[in-house]
């Protein structure tokens, strides 16, 4: 069979749009699961770094340093092929992205918690609130607002980094794109990658706008933007 002529082939992209959209679904699902796992682990980790002490604090700090210092590609390969934490590529990718995101989210929340001035915590204690009660009722609500911009950043990073799951064969957006032209049915690599990029762009754009809205909605009247 002679090589296919090099010409633009958007019809091929359009014809396979259903596959690309299915991949997009996986990407969105993986992002949501990873961000959620990262939040569930990262928020308490940030709180421990600010308010904790002793071995727990040291353990959390060390885990953070290790995770932030290891390439995501290494984490995901290690978890899937080395430790075989799960036979499901989706679950493994979620754990890898979630752990890495937790390490970054912990720093977003740590900074936000520390930015709420100590005096408010003291004032809460002075009316008889317990330490945990004061942190929960006074510091955390303000820290969450202040962490939105950092969180926005983290969200878009995780969204795009889901593409690394290609190395363990998860059928997310980039994998689907690559399979389409590697199958030899088309040379429309450029068209496919442009389309894939556009989808990533739309996703990050929509996410950022949504978080902007949350930022505005919860901002404190008269004060700094949330």
């Amino acid at each position: 069979m002679p090589p296919l002529p090099l010409q633009s082939d958007w019809a091929f992209v359009a014809g396979n749009l259903d596959l690309l959209l299915a991949g997009t679904g996986v990407t969105v699902g993986l992002t949501a699961a990873s961000i959620l796992l990262g939040f569930l682990l990262g928020f308490p980790a940030g709180a421990v770094e600010v308010y904790g002490r002793g071995p727990l604090k040291r353990a959390v700090e060390t885990a953070g340093v290790v995770l932030r210092g290891t390439p995501l590609l290494v984490i995901i390969i290690l978890l899937f092929f080395g430790l075989s934490v799960s036979s499901s590529a989706f679950v493994t990718a979620t754990i890898a992205l979630g752990l890495r995101s937790a390490a970054y989210q912990s720093q977003i929340f740590r900074g936000a918690l520390q930015s709420v001035d100590e005096g408010q915590l003291e004032a809460a204690r002075a009316i008889g609130m317990g330490r945990l009660q004061a942190i929960r009722g006074v510091v955390v609500p303000q820290a969450l607002r202040r962490s939105v911009p950092g969180f926005q950043n983290e969200f878009t990073i995780v969204l795009k980094d889901t593409s690394i799951a290609i190395v363990i064969g998860l059928g997310e957006l980039l994998t689907v794109g690559q399979n389409l032209y590697q199958g030899g049915q088309s040379t429309a690599a450029l068209e496919i990658f442009l389309t894939v990029s556009l989808i990533y762009f739309v996703l990050t754009f929509v996410t950022n706008r949504s978080l902007d809205y949350i930022d505005d909605h919860f901002s404190i009247p008269g004060g700094e933007r949330a």
């Binding site: 009316i127 609130m129 009247p221």
Partner: protein, 248 residues
């Protein structure tokens, strides 16, 4: 005879090598308004913070209504329900409205339901003249208004004793008056107040006693007439004359 409302008995406090309070003793009765004066670094704020145990003492005892509150087994949260504090920097909860600032303790500490807490909250905002600002957030208030919310927040807990830590020091001069006026009203209502402040007008007119603290020790303790007109210690006269000159 009932015990004094507050008694400090030979209280010591140090931060490492630095001795901040060196054997401070005094008593005050219910309804008293004692004003603590002294040069910066003399230990005034530290002394105040020892009374609600935001700062822990190293020696001596503090009694509230006859009960030792510096025991290891004292429940600090119980203590703090009874001793309110007003801060130099207001320390209002930035994410809550004026009303919510006042009701947070009522709901979380006193366990009141929302409606009852709000009713009491409005009452105390009215007491400090801020009923119309109930729904404003701290960032929308002037310094003087913020401090009045701070006072209402402390008052709402119905404390036996109200501590004021330099309540007007962070205010622009033209805003001092409204806060002092509220404090004067409280004094007239018989609220027991221990006030660290250099508002000499307030000290002269509202104080039962003035305590002059220098270098962690009480140099002189007596009614305002004594300290202002006829100080017993040379150091008191020296400090007061410098203070009044600077204030003019």
């Amino acid at each position: 005879m009932s015990p004094p409302l507050l008694e400090l008995d030979d209280v010591y406090k140090s931060y490492g090598e630095e001795q901040v309070l060196s054997g401070v003793s005094f008593e005050m009765d219910a309804g008293d308004v004692d004003v603590v004066i002294g040069p910066s670094g003399s230990g005034k704020s530290t002394m105040l913070r020892c009374v609600n145990r935001l700062t822990e003492i190293n020696g001596g005892d503090i009694y509230l209504d006859g009960d030792c509150i510096t025991d290891a087994n004292t429940d600090v949260n119980e203590l703090r329900k009874q001793v309110g504090m007003v801060f130099q920097d207001f320390n209002l909860f930035a994410h809550l409205t004026a009303l919510e600032n006042v009701t947070l303790g009522l709901r979380k500490v006193r366990g009141m339901d929302k409606a009852a807490a709000q009713e009491k909250g409005y009452e105390h905002l009215e007491q400090v003249g801020l009923l119309d600002q109930a729904d404003s957030y701290p960032a929308e208030l002037s310094g003087g208004q913020k401090q009045r919310v701070g006072i209402a927040r402390a008052l709402a807990m119905d404390p036996k004793l109200l501590l004021f830590d330099e309540p007007t020091s962070a205010l622009d001069p033209e805003l001092v008056g409204e806060v002092v006026e509220v404090m004067r009203d409280l004094a007239a209502e018989g609220i027991t107040m221990l006030v660290v402040s250099h508002e000499m007008g307030f000290a002269r007119s509202a104080a039962s006693d003035i305590i002059f603290l220098d270098d962690g020790r009480i140099v002189e303790h007596g009614p305002p007439e004594q300290l202002f007109e006829n100080p017993q210690a040379a150091r008191t006269g020296e400090f007061l004359s410098r203070l009044t000159h600077e204030g003019e």
